[in-house]
């Protein structure tokens, strides 16, 4: 009996072991190998695997293993691999998380390679500096973006709107919302309700002459900033010119559910590299406007790196990893494959090479980028630890305001208090 069970067990485990090795066989025997991990979508994955193929053809000795998953699951897996000290050699980074990972010691600085194996001397300095933490370069910009008010050009034309969408103010914005709502008889509202979008609120704070987070990572936005922001949207809601409150409190809805994609509203706030994705689901042609300005205020919007490539603490063959990184931003064939999918490249040479081949939407985002250059403020410092939690708190407390279950002033005070506590606890 014992024999029988053991044999059965060993047999099956053996089969499992045999099966498990099946997919793990490498494509071809290269003596060096690196792993590249990114978040993606079908389009981006196709392009990235094509890049890997191209790179491997040109560098026969280096095998690159591409590892990908959607944004939502990316960070869970990343955290697990970080804890296990098994991070991929190269990881895709986001501005929101850069500070967290650098300060916990998960990334290696790139400075020692710059000018030797990483050639970035002629790159735009501003976007490049977005990858610096405490004066060291921890993340290589592989595309820039900026806030954008995506709008429905058909609705704008029909409502006869001729506002200067680069220099307009919040007052103009309110009037546009009214016009569009009136024109469509209420079927299409002027805009999504951005009460809960901390990204847009950040521009609002900067227009008031402050940063959301000060130099020491403290919350420097004030309760008045928050209250005035929520009040403005409360007024627009009351006037019935922004999207229904019940659609607003769904947090971070996928692009396909946004007002502009569904056709409920004529404007939404996004990042400029998302415009291709929005156009893919929107029925009408989209256009790009800046976040409205405060009359007489400071510039609120900024240009930031949309994605980075970072060298992880666990990278073994750093030389191969840097070679790959360098090819990403310099090799014309590779940057041709990548296009603008991850954002606007910060190498002027690459941009020039891409220009003749752009699609209509891509051209829109490049033109928009050129138009806003002189209107934006400096890049804010990377968000401190706990910023993700502050973002959640903003949405949570704001939800009560949107639903009319909390007073604006009181909720604003509560949020600032909560935000300070969160940031302190995270240090």
């Amino acid at each position: 009996m014992t024999r029988l069970t053991r044999r059965a067990l060993l047999g099956t485990i053996g089969a499992a072991a045999a099966a498990s090795t099946l997919p793990a066989t490498p494509i071809f025997a290269a003596d060096r190998s690196i792993r590249h991990y990114w978040w993606g979508n079908p389009e981006r994955d196709k392009r990235t695997f094509a890049v890997i193929d191209t790179f491997q053809k040109k560098n026969a000795g280096i095998a690159v293993s591409g590892e990908t998953i959607g944004w939502g699951d990316y960070w869970t897996k990343m955290a697990t691999q970080t804890a296990g000290r098994n991070m991929a050699d190269l990881v895709q980074m986001d501005y929101r998380f850069l500070f967290e990972y650098v300060h916990r010691g998960a990334l290696k600085p790139l400075d020692e390679f710059v000018g030797k194996s990483l050639m970035i001397a002629d790159f735009d300095k501003g976007p490049l500096d977005g990858g610096k933490v405490d004066g060291k370069l921890y993340a290589l910009n592989i595309g820039s973006n900026s806030q954008v008010m995506v709008h429905n050009t058909r609705a704008f034309k029909e409502a006869g709107i001729d506002a200067d969408l680069i220099n307009w103010t919040w007052d103009d914005f309110g009037k546009v919302c009214e016009k569009i709502t009136a024109k469509s008889g209420g079927k299409m509202k002027g805009s999504d309700d951005l009460s809960l979008m901390i990204e847009t609120f950040e521009s609002w704070v900067r227009q008031n002459g402050r940063e959301f987070y000060g130099p020491e990572g403290k919350v420097t936005a004030t309760a008045e900033d928050v209250a005035s922001w929520w009040q403005m949207w409360a007024d627009l809601r009351k006037a019935g010119v922004v999207r229904d409150k019940n659609k607003t409190v769904i947090l971070d809805p996928p692009i396909a559910e946004s007002g502009i994609a569904v056709g409920d509203t004529a404007m939404s706030h996004y990042w400029s590299n998302q415009m291709v994705g929005i156009q893919a689901v929107a029925k009408d042609k989209i256009g790009a406007a800046m976040v409205p300005h405060k009359a007489g205020g400071k510039p609120g919007q900024f240009i930031k790196p949309s994605m980075f490539l970072s060298l992880s603490r666990d990278a073994k063959d750093t030389e191969a990893a840097i070679a790959y990184m360098n090819a990403w931003v310099n090799d014309p064939e590779i940057s041709g494959i990548l296009g603008l999918e991850r954002g606007i490249p910060c190498s002027p040479k690459v941009r020039a090479a891409l220009t003749p081949k752009l699609t209509e939407v891509e051209k829109l985002s490049v033109d928009y980028f050129t138009a806003i250059q002189s209107k934006v403020g400096p890049l804010p410092l990377p968000a401190p630890k706990g910023a993700g939690e502050v973002r959640d708190a903003f949405m949570r407390i704001g939800t009560d305001v949107v639903l009319g279950k909390a007073e604006v002033a009181e909720a604003a005070g509560m949020f600032i208090e909560d935000a300070q506590t969160i940031v302190e606890r995270a240090q």
Partner: protein
Amino acid sequence: MKRFFARNAPAYVFLLPWLIGFFLLALGPILASLYLSFTRYDMVSAPRWIGWGNYEYMFTRDRRFWKALEVTFTYVALAVPARLIMALGVAMLLDKGLRTIGLYRAIFYLPSLLGASIAIAILWRQLFAADGVVNQVLAMVGIQGASWITDPDTSLYTLVVLAMWQFGSPMLIFLAGLRGIPRDLYEAAEIDGTPRWRQFTRITLPLLAPVIFFNLVLQTIDSFKTFSSAFIISNGTGAPADSLLFYTVYLFNEAFKFFRMGYASALAWFLLVIIATFTAIAFFTSKYWVHYENERD
């Protein structure tokens, strides 16, 4: 000694795979998480011992912890009975006499197959939206429905409905249990003229008790640990306004979003204590209402 061996050897041979799995694979991580619950651990730098600090913070300063408990307990209290009654009722309807039973069984199980997929999240948001299908149906009978899923006062109930709708697995287990009840018992009762409800209380319930017990314990444990549906429907945040902040959603966010694995482990161990208490109560009282065939007399 020899007798001890002779008595126990067969059992331990059968238990061997489990023993290996438990002691070599499962126990280590469990103990590790217990250790981590007494540390501050951000998953990148090494864990730092802080004694009871996490537990202290949890009970004295963490408002969201209490909110998470409230949400979870409310859900358990509603979803477990609702789901079990639904499952038992349908299982009994399906157990007897219908030729098309296989078709129904498949149909009723289908929703459970969809699990907590992204498709379900999108669908649920559409169904229970202010202008959703549910309200359209309600409007036909003259009821003005709320915006169920975005209103913090009602959003939890949409998850209870989801739990009721996915009653496939307890139903299947009930069915398997009902199949184990000998038909002749019912036939004899029928001849004696025992009314149906009496047959239910005298035959079905007592003989099904072990399976009811299983479903009760398992559904309670599962409901306390509800994660995927709440996570995916609330976009991972417990929104709107923390009304879907299930305990495990909170725990997950603390661990993987806010890098507080130590604190999350403490949360997990407290949840374990709660669940273990409920399970122990269930096992303890089961002596009085669950009788097994092999333990008669």
